[in-house]
């Protein structure tokens, strides 16, 4: 290596005495090269094959004093014997450049950790005479690196530990990263599309907050219904925030979702409760009004000496009392969870019991009521007979009133059927009427809200009660309405093993 040959850096005698004066051949490291090395902000030394310092630059001398002639290990690592892990051999013995990191414990040097580069120096035609050891202080970088690693660990802990689902997505809605909670509930998701993982869809959602954050670089919010990998639905509030590069360009979007299933359930329950209270109050108002009217008619009949009128008034009062009783019973039925008192009953006998109860009412209303069921005796079913009786009675009563409300209907007809549904392993009680049907707007709210099409005569609780009873049995209420020409309701009850003797009551 011939530093002296560099034309722009001729040696200056005063500052850089000839190499011969300091015991190294000028041809190995001339004055110009040494002047240049003196300017470097790192420790530079020339080490002999015996590991002695032949020359040191100013940065090293400033901190370690005059080191020429001293062993390398003493200066750099405050050792009395050669370092067992000495790496200078690569340069001094093998003639190759080597690079390594070196800690400097106990030395006088301010640097505690250095990046070392050792370059073999040799004169033309001669062997390796020395190695140039250049040690760059890595302490500030190491401190920053430690800080960075700490921050990364903290961010990672935060990312993994927050009690919400976090994913980072690219423009194609591919999940680049997801936190632990996300992967626990939605499975391995890296590389998969958000809409596949969250919703089992094949195409992106119509309104996507991730897409909007990509578009405008803003935070967006939405409420979504998604499915866990187990299939269980959950409601989420979703926030999306852009992740930008140093130029401010969004290259990914972070999606943070919090489960609000319970909150939404509570919200719906409260809304439903509010509505129930309002409708109940309205029903009570109607009942009171009917009672007031009935009382007035009784009084007027007595005053006029008209017993027929008084009797009419009395019937009105009786109807009002009956309605109040039914209202209270329905409210009690829907207001608390009940465990069905299962008994083994004959489905045909249960249906026949309900139908016989309504025979008089059907005759009064001029509606034909019939029971159609298989001739052979069906297997008993395990149900709470009182509850199913109530549910079926609600449907029959609704059917009769629906038929009776139709003006000019030739023959109002309500048919009750008991059907075995072997494919579904269920039994169904079916009530079919040829009444006016239910308009689509009401159909949507039928089982969710208190809906009455009977004006002041209905509380709107009947179907809510019916649906609750079937839900408690693990069954459901099916409904079909063929464009204003009657309705078909089915109480579908799963068949489960019957325990004990068949209930004859």
């Amino acid at each position: 290596m011939r530093w002296a040959s560099l034309p722009w850096n001729k040696p200056q005698e005063a500052l850089n005495p000839p190499a011969a004066k300091i015991g190294i051949p000028d041809t190995l490291l001339d004055g110009g090269a040494r002047a240049l090395l003196d300017l470097l902000p790192c420790y530079v030394s020339l080490i002999s094959p015996a590991r002695e310092v032949l020359w040191a630059n100013k940065a090293l001398i400033r901190e370690a004093g005059q080191v020429t002639g001293l062993p390398c290990h003493q200066i750099y690592r405050a050792r009395h014997s050669p370092c067992p892990d000495c790496q200078l051999g690569v340069a001094l013995e093998q003639g190759s450049v080597s690079v390594w990191e070196e800690s400097l414990p106990g030395s006088n040097l301010s640097a505690t950790h250095t990046l070392v580069q050792a370059v073999p120096l040799q004169e033309r035609g001669a062997g390796i005479q020395a190695a140039l050891k250049i040690s760059t202080d890595l302490s500030p970088f190491r401190a920053r690196q430690r800080q960075l690693e700490l921050s990364q660990r903290e961010y990672r802990a935060l990312f993994e530990g927050v009690p919400c689902y976090i994913s980072v997505q690219d423009r194609e809605f591919r999940i680049l990263k997801a936190n632990r909670l996300f992967e626990r509930d939605f499975g391995r998701s890296q590389g998969r599309r958000c809409y596949e993982v969250y919703k089992g869809r094949q195409q992106k959602c119509e309104v996507c907050p991730v897409e909007r954050s990509f578009e405008d670089g803003q935070i967006h919010f939405s409420e979504e219904t998604v499915r866990r990998s187990s299939g269980e639905p959950m409601e989420m509030v979703v926030y999306t925030a852009p992740i930008t590069d140093h130029l401010g360009k969004t290259f990914a979007v972070m999606e943070m979702s919090t489960e609000i299933t319970q909150v939404k359930r509570l919200q719906r329950a409260l809304a439903s409760l509010g509505q129930a209270v309002a409708i109940t109050a309205h029903s009570i108002k109607n009942i009171l009004s009917g009672l007031e009217g009935g009382a007035y008619v009784v009084q007027s009949g007595l005053r006029r000496g008209d017993p027929a009128l008084a009797a009419k008034g009395f019937e009105m009062v009786k109807d009002g009392v009956g309605m109040a009783g039914r209202l209270v019973q329905d409210i009690l039925l829907i207001s608390k969870a009940r465990t069905p008192n299962h008994r083994s009953v004959c489905p045909q006998a249960l249906a026949a019991g309900v139908v016989s109860l309504f025979e008089k009412k059907a005759a009064d209303l001029g509606v034909e009521l019939c029971l159609l069921q298989p001739e052979e005796k069906l297997d008993p079913i395990s149900v709470d007979p009182d509850a199913i009786h109530t549910a079926l009675a609600n449907l029959v009563s609704n059917g009769l009133e629906a038929c009776a409300s139709v003006q000019g209907l030739q023959t109002g007809r309500v048919q009750v059927k008991v059907l075995e549904l072997p494919e579904e392993e269920c039994l169904a009680f079916q009530v079919e009427d040829n009444g006016p049907g239910v308009n689509p707007e009401v159909q949507e709210r039928l089982f969710r809200e208190m809906v009455s099409t009977k004006g002041s005569a209905g509380t709107g609780l009947g179907l809510v009660v019916t649906e609750k009873i079937l839900r408690e049995h693990g069954g459901k209420v099916r409904f079909h309405c063929a464009s204003q020409s009657g309705t078909v309701f089915q109480l579908v009850i799963p068949r489960r093993p019957c325990l004990g003797e068949e209930d004859q009551t």
Binding site: N286, E292, S300, L309, G313, M316, Q407, G455
Partner: protein, 149 residues
């Protein structure tokens, strides 16, 4: 019936018609009951009542349709109609412009069920008063009502 004040009640609820007819009869009116819209129109062809009490929510033909029919028929011109219903908010929201758009006379009054008997009697009295009658209409405005001579 000379000097009798005839009220036609069109309502599908028997309890309501019994109550209203008893109340009106006790207060010097002659009550005629129709239990459905068709019967109501039939009654109108047979007699000219001094006032009609019309229920809004009835099966098949709503009270609004019946009102429209009555208001458009020259034969029934000038018979005040008092609407009875339990769906005040819904009615007001949906029918605010209904009468204006169809260029129909507005109902004489609107009464919310359950009706207050004293208020009902006062409104019925006002509707058939030979003098210039004044009543609150359903939209909360006070409007003069003039009977056809």
């Amino acid at each position: 019936m000379k000097n009798s004040r005839n009220v036609l009640i069109i309502d599908d609820e028997p309890a309501m018609t019994t109550y209203l007819s008893t109340l009106l009869e006790d207060n010097g009116f002659v009550a005629h009951v129709a239990n459905d819209p068709t019967e109501g129109m039939e009654r109108l062809r047979q007699m000219r009542p001094d006032v009609i009490l019309l229920d809004l929510l009835m099966p098949h033909k709503s009270g609004v349709q019946i009102f429209q029919k009555i208001a458009r028929d020259e034969r029934y011109k000038g018979i005040p109609v008092i609407i009875l219903t339990g769906i005040k908010e819904h009615f007001v929201e949906n029918f605010r412009e209904f009468f204006t758009t169809l260029k129909l006379d507005r109902p004489f009054a609107y009464l919310e069920k359950p009706v207050d008997p004293k208020h009902l009697l006062r409104v019925v009295e006002e509707s058939i008063s030979p003098h210039c009658s004044v009543s609150n209409d359903m939209f909360g405005q006070t409007v003069p009502y003039s009977k056809t001579p």
